[in-house]
């Protein structure tokens, strides 16, 4: 086979190869998407999470059209293999994201899997889920020199303000 740079360039192809072929890829994505809609936060490999992200957001866009829309119902019926999730999609997830135009999902990376394959893992979740947040807001270390000086400055300013108020 002629090994060349063309092999490294995707030439506009945006779909990853997954599983045994295009049908297998769609089936895998369907399963992961169904799990995401059921649990609202799932843990998979990074590649799969990235692929599912697009489909998850497009599914919400279709769900926003309402369950009376034929095409939306067909899409939901195809993508959700567990049929008890179709009402959940239309009645819980779609109203949740009514105000937001675009970003409905969040992906966070996780340390590699403990198995032999050491696969790179990620967590994919729909925003507004009932679980505690994945990433807490990082606060700077208070014990660094600059932060201590700033803390002192802030306290000084507060004392001066209090003195002015009394006088």
């Amino acid at each position: 086979m002629r090994v060349n740079i063309q092999m490294l360039i995707s030439h506009g192809r945006v779909a990853r190869k997954m599983g045994l072929g295009p049908e297998s890829r769609i089936n895998m994505l369907r399963n992961i998407l169904t799990g995401l809609v059921r649990h609202e936060r799932i843990e998979t490999t990074r590649g799969r999470a990235d692929e599912v992200r697009f489909y998850a957001e497009k599914l919400i866009d279709y769900a926003k059209k309402g369950d009376t829309d034929e095409k939306a119902m067909k899409m939901a019926n195809f993508w959700l293999t567990e049929k008890d999730l179709i009402p959940k999609l239309f009645k819980v997830l779609a109203p949740r994201f009514e105000t937001q135009p675009k970003a409905y999902t969040r992906m966070a990376r996780i340390p590699n899997r403990e198995n032999l394959d050491k696969a790179a893992m990620a967590v994919l979740e729909y925003k507004g889920n009932p679980f505690p947040p994945l990433q807490t807001a990082k606060r700077d270390n208070e014990l660094t020199l600059i932060n201590q000086l700033l803390k002192g400055y802030r306290e000084q300013r507060a004392q001066q303000a209090a003195a002015k108020v009394e006088a």
């Binding site: 506009g12 945006v14 779909a15 295009p22 049908e23 769609i26 697009f54 489909y55 497009k58 599914l59 279709y62 067909k74 899409m75 195809f78 993508w79």
Partner: protein, 290 residues
């Protein structure tokens, strides 16, 4: 009889003379009266007002289509290219369209194209045929015309915005069941022949384009492509006459039913189409005003 006619002639002649003299006098009088009147106004000479130009209604040239039709090459494919490139290209396309009238046509319509040819006597050559494919985007848009001349099938691929094209006439405007008629290569020759002396068929400027629902009979297999496979989505072939039901079923193995649900493959062009249609219409109407 002859004598009476001669006398009549003399009488008529004298009457005509009198009438002429009278008219001349009247004219003389009338001009003098007008002149006197003008002179009385301000002493300026009469201004020569040319007679109004006759309005020529050219019915041979078909009117511009009033249908909302945007040529498919204006719609860019999904790419990561800066949209500025497409905007500039559109400007160039509109500028070319102001010079050469590219009419509305679809795959399945019969066109006649005159192209500049340095080696032909008269420096132009004319070809007509059925449009079987419209490809390309932007300035590189092409269309393929097919015809059978002296028993030989001929297909010519023309670039719509080439400066060599001098005239594009639509002899018959119609659509077919498919967007791509490449299967005519494997169909019986009667479906691809277009009479070279064909006269333009008048078509309405408003309303829907007529759809020709002919389903074509094919030559025996092998064909250039396996047209029975669902990926080509051919509606215009009579498969029941050339393939057995088992073969048709076997072809459905390549069906890929998940394709219609794959959101990644969707490309919604309605917003783009509206925007470009408005732009093209405003730019084209600007050209006719000055």
């Amino acid at each position: 009889m002859a004598a009476s006619t001669r006398k009549l002639d003399k009488v008529m002649f004298s009457i005509k003379l009198l009438r002429n003299i009278q008219q001349q006098n009247e004219r003389f009088l009338s001009t003098s009266m007008r002149r006197l009147a003008e002179g009385s106004d301000g002493g300026k000479p009469t201004k020569f007002t040319p007679p109004p130009k006759p309005v020529i209604i050219d019915k041979t040239q078909s009117e511009a289509s009033l249908r909302k039709f945007l040529s498919p090459e204006f719609i860019p494919p999904r790419q990561r290219i800066n949209p500025l490139k497409f905007a500039i290209e559109r400007k160039d396309m509109i500028q070319r369209r102001k010079v050469l009238n590219i009419p509305e046509f679809y795959v399945g319509s019969v066109l006649a194209v005159t192209m500049a040819d340095p080696h032909a006597s008269g420096k132009t050559n004319r070809f007509m045929g059925i449009c079987i494919q419209r490809g390309g985007h932007g300035l590189g848009a092409t269309f393929v015309l097919r015809n059978i001349i002296d028993g030989q099938g001929v297909e010519i691929c023309y670039e719509m915005y080439s400066p060599r094209l001098q005239q594009l006439e639509v002899l018959k405007l119609e659509k077919r069941l498919d967007n791509n008629l490449m299967y005519l290569r494997d169909a019986l020759p009667e479906y691809s022949t277009v009479n070279l002396d064909m006269k333009p068929v008048p078509h309405s400027v408003t309303g829907d384009v007529p759809v020709n629902k002919t389903r074509v009979r094919m030559r025996p297999k092998p064909w250039s492509k396996r047209w029975e496979r669902p990926k080509y989505n051919v509606q215009g072939i009579r498969f029941d006459l050339c393939l057995s039901p088992e073969k048709l079923e076997h072809a459905q193995k390549w069906a890929e039913p998940w394709r219609e649900y794959d959101m990644l493959k969707e490309y919604d062009t309605t917003a783009l189409e509206e925007r470009f249609l408005k732009e093209v219409q405003t730019e084209m109407s600007k050209s006719t005003s000055p």
